[in-house]
Assembly symmetry: C2
Homo-oligomer: 130 residues x 2
Amino acid sequence: MSEQIPSDICTLYVCTTCRDAADPGEGPRAGARLHDALAAALADRPEARVRIEPVECLSVCKRPCTVAVSSPGRWTYVYGDLDPAVSAAVILDGIGLYAGTPDGIVPWRERPQEFRKGVVARIPPAPVLP
Amino acid sequence: MSEQIPSDICTLYVCTTCRDAADPGEGPRAGARLHDALAAALADRPEARVRIEPVECLSVCKRPCTVAVSSPGRWTYVYGDLDPAVSAAVILDGIGLYAGTPDGIVPWRERPQEFRKGVVARIPPAPVLP
């Protein structure tokens, strides 16, 4: 990718392919609805240093809906079991806490319940390249 | 992290905290045994552009053993359900295929069975920073 991103921005990846068991045959999938809800919620928070990037699949297909949050120098976290109808605000709240830490590790008891129960994986910060 | 890593190196994170149900009460855990097996297998492949980094927890505790592979410009993959007694060589084979792609996406049918069944999540390459 050649896009230039300021280093203090958190990237929120949202799987738009996630399908909920209750999804109707027609219309946007649960993942696409979560993406739209997050974009709308983010528009109401102009101070948030977050960019949303839709992704075709995060390979967490058994735990829809799924997001990942990443930021230079911080751990990457993947979360599943999110609800497109109600989770957008709590996801952005959680990312705000994440952005307030030097390494992305929010103390356990401060994490939203959705992040505690929904954690799928975490990956250390990328090593510094020459 | 301030370590300087050449950009063509793949980083293999290995959770050393993973505990297998069959683990004895004493002795190294399954994750630590997988780490040691990978380090030994890598020593036999001096041409491999892989560095192994032990990690205390990758938060995939329900699917031991767990690893993640990451590389600049490539997708990051997380895999679980790995067996410390037999998986080391196939993991390194799979990373060799990964390293041979521009974006880290190995065609499905070329992937080791362990990676097909064990995939936990994938995360897009980090955006380029100014």
